[in-house]
Assembly symmetry: C2
Homo-oligomer: 140 residues x 2
């Protein structure tokens, strides 16, 4: 799968998995909703920003901004499997234009967020590596 | 979600995401099919063991056996979301009783593997940490 296909597949995916590293090196994984525009992937920490799990995600990024995100599709017909993996550098934004734009993108993608709109921290990932794989295009 | 529920949810999930770390600290993510018995999660590297992506996964584990695995369910009804995350120490097995048992467990779960049965390396993760989350049981 080329970068254009990878971008299309990731953009349209409804959920992905965010990987962040603890200072100890242990890897934390959590499903995220997200939006993609250009080389940015954004994800809003939801309506309950004070839970331990959300704090962990943000703390990891503050310690080590390198993150990996995977979106994939599973089907019992294994020749329909595909996945897209991106890497990038993440930052946390809590207000201002980038915060506003990220939340607007999330609401446009997820009607579940319309009312009330999220107000929490936004994770913005500057993607610098795209990798896509599709079973139907893989090597013989 | 308690450990028993987490175990049931992970065991019945059809796909999960395996996270391994490169020596550089970058995190690799890949979807895996897998089976769980007791505190072991097993995954068979499939019929094309020589591809770069499979070698990467195995190389990472040989360098750093600590892995994290996430299974989750997405639904547009967000009160149905759940995920299970496990951590453990992985090893690679290429023959013998554990290899045989792992492949047998995979075939029992995935009819796609029956013919021909896989013969490649098996990743065995000794799970030492379970964490499960369900939207319908989360804090108010």
């Amino acid at each position: 799968m080329g970068t254009d296909d990878a971008r299309r597949s990731l953009t349209s995916a409804r959920v992905a998995t965010l990987a962040t590293a603890r200072a100890s090196g242990e890897i934390d994984l959590v499903p995220i909703t997200f939006a993609v525009y250009g080389n940015q992937l954004v994800s809003v920490v939801d309506h309950k920003p004070k839970t331990t799990l959300h704090l962990r995600r943000l703390k990891n990024i503050m310690n080590n901004p390198r993150v990996t995100v995977l979106a994939h599709s599973y089907d019992e017909e294994w020749d329909r499997l595909w996945w897209v993996r991106v890497r990038g550098t993440a930052r946390i934004v809590t207000s201002g234009r980038q915060h506003h734009d990220a939340i607007r993108s999330m609401i446009a993608k997820y009607p579940q967020l319309v009312d009330p709109p999220p107000t929490g921290s936004v994770i913005i990932v500057e993607i610098d590596e795209w990798l896509g794989w599709s079973a139907c295009q893989s090597e013989p």
